[in-house]
């Protein structure tokens, strides 16, 4: 700090310099405080208050909302389902992302074409992609309708089928995104490491397990945290594709928040309580993941 600050100190007076910095940062500060810090405080307050959707704040009632949240008939089911979906989506996306990255790693015209086609779905919104697959999976409009009819199943008909079909949509939409992140990681490995492995007589398979994967650890940590966070907060895909069905088997935690807040129950206090639980869980899970990746390293 001392050296460059001193040089610049001569050019501009320090106090004025700091003031200018604040001036340029003011729009950011206003947005972050008004639309992030204040709502964050408010959601905590709501979680300990009786707060019906239409009537508004009715005063403190802690810890009623948290009790009601945990006792909600779909609370445990939605937590279990969300975790199940998160594990499935994360494993598939990371394996596929890395696989695609290895496949198109070398730069050539053909590979550039492939990369672009893997990446195009990621430009679509999640809602648009879900709507697309809503039609694609329907027993009436789907190009696979004859297959469904002759094999006697529908893509969204049973809990397992609904989970797998939704996961397929997510893999289709996000695989290219994880491929790009994996490509960045692969490019970060110095070439002479592979050279050394080859001259030591390592097979491709050994090189992958002993060299590539360990050196990809920072990328794997980032992609895992991103994918787990994104999947734990899944909403659109299930809201649009399955509406939580069949038999309420595909309700995610965020969907539960939405339901409690705006569909029937209309209790913003309980919804805020679930939101706070999700926030705390997410912070803890991410901290644990980062620690796991770090301790393995040492």
């Amino acid at each position: 700090m001392s050296d460059s600050a001193a040089t610049r100190g001569r050019a501009r007076p320090r106090g004025r310099h700091a003031l200018l910095g604040w001036l340029y940062a003011t729009p950011t500060a206003v947005f972050v405080v008004a639309l992030f810090v204040v709502p964050l405080g408010l959601v905590v307050k709501m979680s300990v208050s009786r707060w019906p959707l239409l009537a508004g704040d009715q005063g403190l009632n802690a810890p009623d909302n948290f009790e009601k949240a945990v006792d909600h008939r779909f609370f445990t089911d939605s937590v279990v389902f969300t975790i199940k979906y998160t594990v499935l989506a994360t494993v598939l996306l990371l394996v596929l992302g890395l696989g695609l990255a290895l496949l198109v790693q070398e730069s050539s015209r053909w590979n550039n074409l492939l990369r672009a086609s893997f990446l195009i779905p990621s430009a679509l919104g999640l809602a648009s992609a879900s709507l697309l697959f809503y039609v694609f999976y329907s027993p009436f409009a789907s190009p696979l309708a004859p297959v469904m009819e002759s094999w006697g199943f529908t893509f969204l008909g049973s809990p397992t089928a609904a989970l797998l079909s939704t996961t397929f949509l997510i893999v289709w939409r996000y695989a290219g995104f994880y491929m790009v992140l994996m490509l960045v990681g692969l490019q970060g490995i110095p070439g002479d490491v592979f050279e050394a492995a080859r001259s030591d007589g390592a097979t491709r398979w050994q090189t992958f397990w002993r060299v590539t994967l360990p050196l990809m650890r920072p990328t794997l940590a980032l992609t895992t945290v991103l994918c787990v966070t994104g999947s734990l907060l899944a909403f659109e895909q299930f809201y649009i594709l399955t509406k939580g069905g069949p038999d309420n088997s595909t309700i995610t935690v965020v969907q539960l928040i939405y339901q409690v807040a705006f569909q029937g129950q209309n209790d913003l206090g309980v919804a805020a309580a679930i939101s706070v639980i999700v926030l705390v869980a997410l912070v803890v899970i991410n901290a644990l993941q980062l620690r796991a990746f770090r301790s393995e390293e040492s």
Binding site: M1, A11, H17, A18, L19, G21, W22, Y24, A25, P27, T28, A29, F31, V32, L35, F36, V37, P39, L40, L42, V43, L100, W110, L114, S117, L119, I120, A123, L124, G125, L126, A127, S128, L131, L132, V135, F136, F140, A141, W172, G176, V180, L181, V184, G185, P218, T219, L233, F235, E236, I240, V254, I257, Y258, F262, L268, V278, L279, L282, V283
Partner: protein, 304 residues
């Protein structure tokens, strides 16, 4: 399709080296042919994989103009499904306008705020600088739904209930972690000497920003603009929670509501048309700005 259609001549070409192997193996040409033969499974496999990713998009576009029972396009090819959409509730033009309004306002706000913010974080030292930067990044840690519920209450209190401006403000806030981070590293990549020379020559910091730095951080701005447009255009949850009025819905919400509205029967054709209209700007922007698109993902990865 490009890979599969020439498969007949390629396949015969692929079997040739096996036939005249002794001659082919020594000759240069033989090695090439054998190489191509070895690559064939790779091309077929990767080509098929590429098709899996493209097929749903192509199918939807084709299906939206092809005849289908239970839609407005029962016989022959045409734009009947798009007509359904044009007459649906407030009409597709209204929803397109709403979506464009929200998206453009979000892009404009995000560009201005992150340009100034990135400049401040990269070039100035002021009390609270690191704290504010970390606070901005912390937005990423907090679930969307956790913030949308109190934001719904807050916007109601300040008279922005049911307002597209309110939606744009919220979407801008969600864009700030990525865009502030990206603009900060864009400014830091520009040599300090450049703007210091300008200020020594009598430019104010304001003048240095507009005349000297702006051209240098243009690629960063394009990436920020692209990502905030895609995020705002495609966002579903914010308008779902913040907008109740049919007149003010954005396009994703309107297309989603299309299902099950007509006497409980889903008009799949109109939904297909809606998906096409939703996807078209995204795909065009992706194709035009692919380099910026990939770079945006990569700068996200470098952060980790």
């Amino acid at each position: 399709m490009a890979v599969v259609s020439p498969s007949t001549p390629a396949a015969t070409g692929g079997t040739r080296p096996a036939g005249d192997a002794p001659a082919g193996r020594t000759g240069r040409r033989g090695v090439n042919v054998a190489g191509i033969a070895l690559r064939m499974p790779y091309w077929v496999f990767t080509g098929a994989l590429g098709l899996i990713f493209l097929a749903p998009l192509v199918w939807t576009a084709v299906a939206s103009v092809s005849p289908q029972a239970g839609t407005n396009q029962v016989e022959g090819w045409g734009f009947g499904n798009y007509e359904t959409l044009a007459n649906y509730q407030a009409g597709v033009w209204r929803y397109l306008f709403n979506s464009a309004f929200v998206s453009l306002l979000t892009v404009a706000l995000t560009l201005v705020i992150s340009l100034f913010g990135g400049y401040a974080f990269a070039r100035f030292r002021f009390p609270g600088r690191n704290f504010l930067f970390l606070l901005t990044l912390a937005i990423l840690m907090v679930p969307y739904a956790t913030l949308l519920i109190p934001l719904y209450v807050l916007l109601n209190e300040v008279g922005l209930e049911n307002s597209l401006v309110g939606v744009a403000l919220v979407l801008t806030m969600f864009q700030l972690p990525f865009s502030t981070f990206l603009m900060r590293i864009s400014f830091e990549a520009v040599p300090r000497e450049l703007d210091e020379a300008a200020t020594v020559d009598g430019c104010s910091t304001w003048g240095a920003l507009w005349r000297v730095l702006l051209p240098a951080v243009k690629p960063g701005l394009i990436t920020v603009g692209l990502f905030s447009f895609l995020a705002a255009w495609n966002d579903f949850m914010a308008p779902l929670i913040l907008i109740n009025d049919t007149e003010r819905m954005t396009l994703p919400l309107a297309v989603s509501n299309l299902r099950g509205q007509v006497q409980g029967v889903v008009d799949y054709g109109a939904t297909e048309a809606g998906v096409v209209i939703l996807a078209l700007p995204c795909i065009v922007l992706f194709l035009l700005l692919q380099r910026h698109y990939v770079r945006g993902f990569m700068s996200g990865a470098l952060k980790g």
